[in-house]
Protein backbone atom coordinates (compact mmCIF):
# COMPACT_ATOMS: atom_id res chain seq x y z
CA UNK A 1 0.00 0.00 0.00
CA UNK A 2 2.76 2.42 0.99
CA UNK A 3 4.70 1.76 -2.18
CA UNK A 4 1.52 2.27 -4.29
CA UNK A 5 0.97 5.68 -2.64
CA UNK A 6 4.60 6.57 -3.26
CA UNK A 7 4.31 5.55 -6.94
CA UNK A 8 1.10 7.57 -7.33
CA UNK A 9 2.98 10.49 -5.76
CA UNK A 10 5.76 10.10 -8.34
CA UNK A 11 3.27 10.11 -11.26
CA UNK A 12 1.63 13.27 -9.89
CA UNK A 13 5.08 14.83 -9.36
CA UNK A 14 5.96 14.18 -13.00
CA UNK A 15 2.68 15.78 -14.12
CA UNK A 16 3.44 18.75 -11.83
CA UNK A 17 6.92 19.08 -13.40
CA UNK A 18 5.35 19.23 -16.87
CA UNK A 19 3.04 22.03 -15.65
CA UNK A 20 6.03 23.88 -14.10
CA UNK A 21 8.03 23.44 -17.31
CA UNK A 22 5.18 24.73 -19.46
CA UNK A 23 4.48 27.58 -17.02
CA UNK A 24 8.15 28.62 -16.87
CA UNK A 25 8.33 28.62 -20.69
CA UNK A 26 5.19 30.77 -20.98
CA UNK A 27 6.37 33.17 -18.24
CA UNK A 28 9.86 33.78 -19.61
CA UNK A 29 9.09 37.00 -21.45
CA UNK A 30 6.72 38.28 -18.79
CA UNK A 31 7.35 40.11 -15.47
CA UNK A 32 9.50 38.13 -12.98
CA UNK A 33 6.52 37.73 -10.61
CA UNK A 34 4.90 35.50 -13.24
CA UNK A 35 7.76 33.04 -12.65
CA UNK A 36 5.82 31.97 -9.54
CA UNK A 37 2.27 33.15 -10.22
CA UNK A 38 1.61 31.85 -13.71
CA UNK A 39 -1.53 29.66 -13.43
CA UNK A 40 0.31 26.57 -14.69
CA UNK A 41 3.11 27.10 -12.16
CA UNK A 42 0.54 27.52 -9.37
CA UNK A 43 -1.23 24.36 -10.59
CA UNK A 44 2.07 22.49 -10.57
CA UNK A 45 2.85 23.51 -6.99
CA UNK A 46 -0.73 22.69 -5.87
CA UNK A 47 -0.21 19.19 -7.24
CA UNK A 48 3.11 18.95 -5.38
CA UNK A 49 1.27 20.00 -2.21
CA UNK A 50 -1.10 17.06 -2.65
CA UNK A 51 1.91 14.78 -3.18
CA UNK A 52 3.20 15.72 0.30
CA UNK A 53 0.07 14.06 1.76
CA UNK A 54 0.71 10.88 -0.23
CA UNK A 55 4.32 10.92 0.95
CA UNK A 56 3.22 11.39 4.54
CA UNK A 57 1.35 8.08 4.38
CA UNK A 58 3.99 6.28 2.31
CA UNK A 59 7.10 7.25 4.27
CA UNK A 60 5.53 6.23 7.52
CA UNK A 61 6.51 2.74 6.38
CA UNK A 62 9.19 3.24 3.73
CA UNK A 63 12.78 4.20 4.63
CA UNK A 64 13.91 7.67 3.47
CA UNK A 65 16.46 6.10 1.13
CA UNK A 66 13.55 4.67 -0.90
CA UNK A 67 13.30 8.22 -2.32
CA UNK A 68 16.50 7.51 -4.23
CA UNK A 69 14.76 4.78 -6.26
CA UNK A 70 11.44 6.61 -6.54
CA UNK A 71 12.49 10.15 -7.50
CA UNK A 72 14.46 9.21 -10.66
CA UNK A 73 11.21 7.93 -12.14
CA UNK A 74 10.11 11.56 -12.40
CA UNK A 75 12.89 12.13 -14.98
CA UNK A 76 11.71 9.17 -17.04
CA UNK A 77 8.04 10.11 -16.71
CA UNK A 78 8.68 13.82 -17.42
CA UNK A 79 10.42 12.76 -20.64
CA UNK A 80 7.47 10.54 -21.58
CA UNK A 81 4.85 13.14 -20.54
CA UNK A 82 6.75 15.89 -22.40
CA UNK A 83 6.48 13.72 -25.49
CA UNK A 84 2.77 13.10 -24.89
CA UNK A 85 1.63 16.53 -23.70
CA UNK A 86 4.22 19.00 -25.01
CA UNK A 87 5.03 17.25 -28.28
CA UNK A 88 8.77 17.13 -27.51
CA UNK A 89 10.78 14.54 -29.42
CA UNK A 90 12.54 11.71 -27.61
CA UNK A 91 16.19 11.31 -28.56
CA UNK A 92 18.28 8.15 -28.61
CA UNK A 93 20.41 9.55 -25.75
CA UNK A 94 17.29 9.99 -23.61
CA UNK A 95 16.39 6.32 -24.08
CA UNK A 96 20.00 5.34 -23.22
CA UNK A 97 19.79 7.58 -20.14
CA UNK A 98 16.51 5.98 -19.07
CA UNK A 99 18.14 2.53 -19.36
CA UNK A 100 21.14 3.77 -17.31
CA UNK A 101 18.75 5.02 -14.61
CA UNK A 102 16.86 1.70 -14.64
CA UNK A 103 20.17 -0.18 -14.28
CA UNK A 104 21.01 2.06 -11.32
CA UNK A 105 17.63 1.31 -9.74
CA UNK A 106 18.18 -2.44 -10.11
CA UNK A 107 21.68 -2.25 -8.57
CA UNK A 108 20.32 -0.08 -5.75
CA UNK A 109 17.74 -2.67 -4.69
CA UNK A 110 19.98 -5.75 -5.13
Amino acid sequence: MAIMLAILGIILTALAQVLLKKGAAQAKNRPIIMTWFHPLVLGGYALLGIVTLFNLAAFRVLPLKTSVILLPWTFILVTVFSRLFLGERMHKDQITAALLILAGLVIFVL
Binding site: L48, L56, L64, L102
Partner: protein
Protein backbone atom coordinates in the same frame (compact mmCIF):
# COMPACT_ATOMS: atom_id res chain seq x y z
CA UNK B 1 26.53 32.73 -18.68
CA UNK B 2 29.12 35.54 -18.44
CA UNK B 3 26.57 38.12 -17.24
CA UNK B 4 25.33 35.97 -14.39
CA UNK B 5 25.86 37.36 -10.89
CA UNK B 6 28.14 35.13 -8.76
CA UNK B 7 25.44 34.79 -6.09
CA UNK B 8 23.15 33.02 -8.55
CA UNK B 9 25.58 30.07 -8.51
CA UNK B 10 24.44 29.42 -4.94
CA UNK B 11 20.86 28.90 -6.08
CA UNK B 12 21.27 25.25 -7.13
CA UNK B 13 22.98 23.98 -3.92
CA UNK B 14 20.51 26.09 -1.94
CA UNK B 15 17.57 24.53 -3.78
CA UNK B 16 18.92 20.98 -3.27
CA UNK B 17 19.59 21.58 0.44
CA UNK B 18 16.11 23.02 1.00
CA UNK B 19 14.56 19.99 -0.72
CA UNK B 20 16.59 17.60 1.43
CA UNK B 21 15.55 19.44 4.62
CA UNK B 22 11.90 19.25 3.49
CA UNK B 23 12.23 15.50 2.87
CA UNK B 24 13.76 14.88 6.30
CA UNK B 25 11.04 16.96 8.02
CA UNK B 26 8.40 15.10 5.98
CA UNK B 27 9.79 11.77 7.18
CA UNK B 28 9.69 12.99 10.81
CA UNK B 29 6.09 14.12 10.21
CA UNK B 30 5.13 10.73 8.75
CA UNK B 31 6.43 9.02 11.88
CA UNK B 32 4.31 11.28 14.12
CA UNK B 33 1.04 11.48 12.20
CA UNK B 34 -1.32 8.59 11.56
CA UNK B 35 -2.35 9.74 8.10
CA UNK B 36 -4.27 6.52 7.40
CA UNK B 37 -7.18 7.85 9.45
CA UNK B 38 -9.36 10.55 7.89
CA UNK B 39 -9.74 12.13 11.31
CA UNK B 40 -5.99 12.60 11.28
CA UNK B 41 -6.22 15.53 8.83
CA UNK B 42 -6.24 18.02 11.75
CA UNK B 43 -3.20 16.31 13.15
CA UNK B 44 -1.50 16.55 9.75
CA UNK B 45 -2.07 20.24 9.12
CA UNK B 46 -1.07 21.16 12.66
CA UNK B 47 2.00 18.94 12.81
CA UNK B 48 5.10 21.16 13.13
CA UNK B 49 7.28 18.76 11.11
CA UNK B 50 4.73 18.73 8.25
CA UNK B 51 4.35 22.51 8.35
CA UNK B 52 8.13 22.85 8.43
CA UNK B 53 8.38 20.52 5.46
CA UNK B 54 5.86 22.64 3.50
CA UNK B 55 7.73 25.83 4.49
CA UNK B 56 11.05 24.49 3.17
CA UNK B 57 9.33 23.17 0.02
CA UNK B 58 7.94 26.68 -0.49
CA UNK B 59 11.43 28.19 -0.17
CA UNK B 60 12.75 25.51 -2.51
CA UNK B 61 10.03 26.38 -5.04
CA UNK B 62 11.13 30.02 -5.04
CA UNK B 63 14.79 29.03 -5.45
CA UNK B 64 14.01 26.41 -8.12
CA UNK B 65 12.03 28.79 -10.33
CA UNK B 66 15.02 31.19 -10.15
CA UNK B 67 17.34 28.31 -11.07
CA UNK B 68 15.19 27.49 -14.11
CA UNK B 69 15.24 31.18 -15.07
CA UNK B 70 19.01 31.53 -14.79
CA UNK B 71 20.58 28.21 -15.73
CA UNK B 72 20.43 25.68 -18.54
CA UNK B 73 18.10 22.83 -17.60
CA UNK B 74 20.96 20.33 -18.00
CA UNK B 75 22.89 22.05 -15.18
CA UNK B 76 19.82 22.37 -13.02
CA UNK B 77 18.71 18.74 -13.35
CA UNK B 78 22.19 17.31 -12.97
CA UNK B 79 22.99 19.24 -9.78
CA UNK B 80 19.49 18.58 -8.47
CA UNK B 81 20.26 14.85 -8.60
CA UNK B 82 22.81 15.47 -5.81
CA UNK B 83 19.70 15.38 -3.65
CA UNK B 84 19.91 11.56 -3.75
CA UNK B 85 23.31 11.62 -2.08
CA UNK B 86 21.97 13.97 0.61
CA UNK B 87 18.95 11.69 1.17
CA UNK B 88 21.18 8.65 1.63
CA UNK B 89 23.28 10.56 4.19
CA UNK B 90 20.14 11.89 5.92
CA UNK B 91 18.63 8.39 6.10
CA UNK B 92 21.71 7.11 7.91
CA UNK B 93 22.17 10.19 10.11
CA UNK B 94 18.60 10.84 11.26
CA UNK B 95 16.79 7.52 10.89
CA UNK B 96 19.51 4.90 11.40
CA UNK B 97 19.04 3.41 7.93
CA UNK B 98 21.72 1.17 6.47
CA UNK B 99 23.41 1.97 3.18
CA UNK B 100 24.95 -0.85 1.16
CA UNK B 101 27.64 -0.73 -1.52
CA UNK B 102 24.84 -1.51 -4.01
CA UNK B 103 22.90 1.54 -2.80
CA UNK B 104 25.94 3.77 -3.40
CA UNK B 105 26.80 2.23 -6.80
CA UNK B 106 23.13 2.41 -7.86
CA UNK B 107 22.87 6.05 -6.80
CA UNK B 108 25.90 7.05 -8.89
CA UNK B 109 24.56 5.12 -11.90
CA UNK B 110 21.22 6.90 -11.50
CA UNK B 111 23.00 10.28 -11.32
CA UNK B 112 24.97 9.38 -14.49
CA UNK B 113 21.70 8.51 -16.24
CA UNK B 114 20.15 11.80 -15.14
CA UNK B 115 23.23 13.71 -16.35
CA UNK B 116 22.89 12.06 -19.77
CA UNK B 117 19.14 12.64 -19.86
CA UNK B 118 19.58 16.30 -18.91
CA UNK B 119 22.32 16.75 -21.53
CA UNK B 120 20.14 15.23 -24.24
CA UNK B 121 17.02 17.19 -23.27
CA UNK B 122 15.66 19.33 -26.15
CA UNK B 123 15.99 22.37 -23.85
CA UNK B 124 19.38 21.37 -22.44
CA UNK B 125 21.22 24.49 -23.55
CA UNK B 126 18.39 26.89 -22.94
CA UNK B 127 17.51 28.95 -19.95
CA UNK B 128 14.54 31.12 -19.30
CA UNK B 129 15.68 34.69 -19.63
CA UNK B 130 13.95 37.37 -17.58
Amino acid sequence: MSHRKPITFLLIPLSVTLQAIAAVMGKFASLEVDSRRLSGIDAIISNPWYLGSLFFLGLQAIAWQLVMRNFPLSWAYFFNSMLYVLLLIAGVTFFGETVTAGNIAGTFLIISGIALMAKSSPNAGHRNKP
